[in-house]
């Protein structure tokens, strides 16, 4: 589904990604771990097409298509979803209105009519129940005055609504208490399927107790320095990142 080859990216002339290789197939869950500032969020942004970041080398392929010339919204229409580490506020725009716009814009891009209001309401009801979201919450302005946990839960709600093929969750676990974490993880697990894939970015292995990854990658200084199965996460928990940093510099 996703093929990243030798990806280099920089921002304001500063090199951040320095040759990332990653292949994610349908049905898989990949965890990406690594210390702060190693380039995890940058990788997520570059996959999503944020123009601030310049791809200087390498390529990203999604479902066999090179994404180089593809705008962020087109990537979204193709089924790429990013749950932001720091979701932004949009005052005066309700969660419901935002979702309605997002869904209908994607439909428009595919040549479909707007989703009928009845269907939209049904979808909203279904997904908000699944994630244990109070309906009142959905009429509030997007992320405005939301607690950290509410913001993250709202991101997952949007993911559930949009049903993307590839979901990238950037530190969705941080800021969540254990109950919220369980609900969110439960939601993600329910959305797992053979034709979808997930990339979990985290630096704790806590989340991985709830969402079991097929692969774990460790990123350090803009490169994936180690990949393995789910046991790698436990090893990291035990030993920290330092041994990998040393390994990488050797």
């Amino acid at each position: 589904m996703l093929k990243i080859k030798n990806l280099h990216a920089s921002v304001e002339g500063k090199k951040i990604l320095k040759g990332v290789n990653l292949e994610v197939n349908a049905g898989e869950v990949h965890a990406i771990m690594g210390p702060n500032g190693s380039g995890k969020s940058t990788l997520a942004s570059v996959i999503a097409g944020k123009e601030e970041f310049e791809v200087t080398q390498g390529s990203i392929e999604f479902e066999g298509e090179d994404l180089d010339e593809t705008s962020p919204e087109e990537r979204a229409h193709k089924g790429v979803f990013l749950s932001f580490q720091y979701p932004v506020e949009i005052p005066g725009v309700s969660v419901t209105n935002f979702m309605k716009t997002a869904i209908n814009e994607s439909r428009k891009a595919k040549g479909l009519e707007d989703m009928p209001a009845k269907e939209m309401l049904k979808l909203i009801r279904e997904k908000s129940e699944m994630l244990d979201i109070d309906r009142k919450f959905l009429s509030r302005s997007l992320n405005e005055g939301f607690s950290g946990g509410e913001k993250k839960r709202n991101e997952i709600f949007q993911m559930a609504m949009l049903e993307p093929k590839l979901s990238i969750l950037d530190e969705t676990d941080s800021g969540l208490d254990i109950d919220a974490l369980r609900i969110v993880a439960n939601g993600v697990n329910k959305l797992r399927s053979a034709d979808k894939a997930t990339i979990l970015i985290t630096h704790y292995q806590r989340l991985l107790e709830y969402i079991i990854p097929d692969f774990v990658h460790v990123i350090h200084d803009g490169k994936i320095v180690k990949s393995g199965g789910k046991e790698l996460a436990l090893e990291l928990e035990e030993k920290g990142y330092d041994w990998l940093k040393q390994e990488a510099t050797v």
Binding site: A76, I90, G92, F98, T101, I103, L142, L162
Partner: protein, 481 residues
């Protein structure tokens, strides 16, 4: 024939009503220039009684002695008042033979506003087969209104048919010598609307007139007078759209509202005159004086969405004369490219327990300048007066400006005045967030702007709100690179 609720709704739905523009009618146009003869000739053309002619002449005398105001935060080439023609009856001669001859950019705008081909033809001056009533489509409602004793007609007609009402109230809120443009308007106003709601009557429909500037080089001087008798209610809509023009046009309207004891007037405006092209050429100069007076327990709400004009100078105001009266001002002002707007309100608290609310949303893009100028004045006798003002500015890009000039004069120690102001910028992060959800940048901006303006949009009547949202989108297109 009385309208049923259903029929009314249908009528409201048809674009015909929504865009009830003047259709051009074969006209004669005065040669440019302004002097006493011209003032008298206008009055003659309108078949006015002598008192009206004298009233105009007095206004003209004041105007000659006045100077154009310069305190507003706008810069423009002063109009040459002798180069303007002060009377032009509607003209029916088609300007074009087919839509193919019309500026495609303008047609595109119309299309996106959802204006039908027939209406596009009318708007751009292409020959059409239907001859429309020249005054206002609202004329068709006259009968229904008449049954309730409501008068809704052109100001010229009112001067002829209801002289006692006009004589009593015209100039009572905006005196002839109030300001330069008000004086000019008083001398030469060509048309406008008159509305009278009798005691205790609730006007059963939104009263709507759409004005449009008919001919290049013709200054427009509209005069609107709304009188709500004791305990009555009316919601009045005023709107206009943008015929493309390459030469500056002056527009100096005067609107006077009179809300007697326990009456309520809601006055909503969507203003979308030609703002000039992307280089800042052309566009309408809009210098408007709007003011209302509230007697005891009365209420006046001004709601406006201003997206057009090259230069706007406009301060809808309320004089809260009666005890317990309420004044409200809700405004969205959008400026793009080289537009300049200096708008705001004046709330003058004279009575006890008077309350006013000001919500102003300024959106600036391109190289435009957007200023809010507001005065809250609490008179010494206005015990327990309250005001709440909120002025929010939204900036797009680095070349535009937002300015806030709040003035407060409180002469009564019991006054409670609150003022809040914020300035924000549409961030790249907000846009990227929307993009990531499949919303393109154009739509993202519209969404953010609509969210920012929501408190004011919510105050507009439904069909106007939808219209206003579309206008916001269109006027900000291409404003973020």
């Amino acid at each position: 024939m009385a309208y049923t609720e259903e029929e009314l709704k249908k009528e409201l739905e048809t674009k015909e009503y929504e865009y009830g523009f003047y259709t051009d009618i074969e006209s004669d146009t005065f040669p440019p220039g302004l002097n006493e003869e011209v003032v008298i000739a206008i009055s003659k053309k309108k078949e006015e009684p002598e008192w009206m002619t004298l009233w105009r002449l007095e206004a003209f005398k004041y105007w000659k002695e006045m100077k154009e105001p310069e305190w507003a935060n706008v810069h423009y080439e002063k109009p040459d008042f002798q180069a303007i023609s002060y009377y032009s009856a509607p003209n029916s001669k088609p300007k074009y033979d087919s839509l193919d001859d019309v500026d495609p950019e303008l047609l595109d705008t119309f299309k996106r506003l959802g204006i039908s081909v027939d209406e596009q033809k009318k708007l751009t001056g292409v020959a059409v087969d239907i001859v429309m009533d020249s005054v206002s489509v609202a004329t068709s409602f006259k009968k229904t209104l008449g049954e309730k004793g409501i008068i809704f007609c052109s100001i010229s007609e009112a001067i002829r048919e209801h002289p006692e009402l006009v004589k009593k109230y015209i100039g009572s809120v905006v005196p002839k010598r109030d300001n330069f443009y008000a004086a000019l308007n008083s001398a030469v106003f060509s048309d406008g609307s008159f509305c009278y709601i009798p005691k205790g009557v609730r006007c059963p429909m939104e009263l709507s007139t759409y004005f449009r500037i008919n001919q290049a080089g013709t200054g427009q001087f509209e005069r609107t007078l709304v009188i709500a008798e004791e305990g009555s209610y009316v919601s009045y809509l005023e709107g206009c759209t943008a015929p493309s023009r390459d030469e500056n046009q002056l527009h100096a309207a005067v609107v006077e509202l009179i809300a007697l004891d326990d009456a309520e007037i809601k006055y909503s405006t969507v203003q979308n005159w030609f703002p000039g092209n992307k280089e800042g050429k052309g566009g309408v100069y809009n210098f408007v004086t709007k003011r209302g007076i509230c007697e005891k327990n009365a209420k006046i709400s001004w709601t406006q969405v201003e997206t057009g004009s090259a230069v706007t100078w406009k301060y809808p105001s309320c004089i809260l004369k009666g005890d317990n009266s309420i004044g409200e001002f809700y405004s969205i002002a959008v400026t793009n490219n080289f537009q300049q707007a200096d708008t705001g309100t004046k709330m003058v608290h004279l009575g006890k327990n008077t309350r006013s609310t000001i919500i102003s949303k300024g959106i600036s893009a391109g190289k435009s300048q957007n200023s809010y100028r507001g005065l809250v004045q609490i008179n010494s006798r206005a015990d327990n007066a309250r005001n709440f003002s909120q002025c929010d500015s939204l900036l797009m890009g680095n070349e535009c400006g937002a300015h806030t000039f709040p003035y407060i004069e409180a002469k009564n120690p019991t006054a409670m005045i609150e003022h809040e102001a914020t300035t924000s910028k549409i961030g790249e992060d907000q846009i990227f967030y929307c993009n990531q959800r499949g919303i393109d940048t154009e739509k993202a901006i519209a969404l953010i702007v609509n969210g920012f303006s929501k408190e004011v949009l919510n105050k507009l009547p439904m069909e106007f709100a939808v219209e206003a949202q579309k206008l916001l989108e269109i006027s900000l297109e291409g404003s973020v690179g």
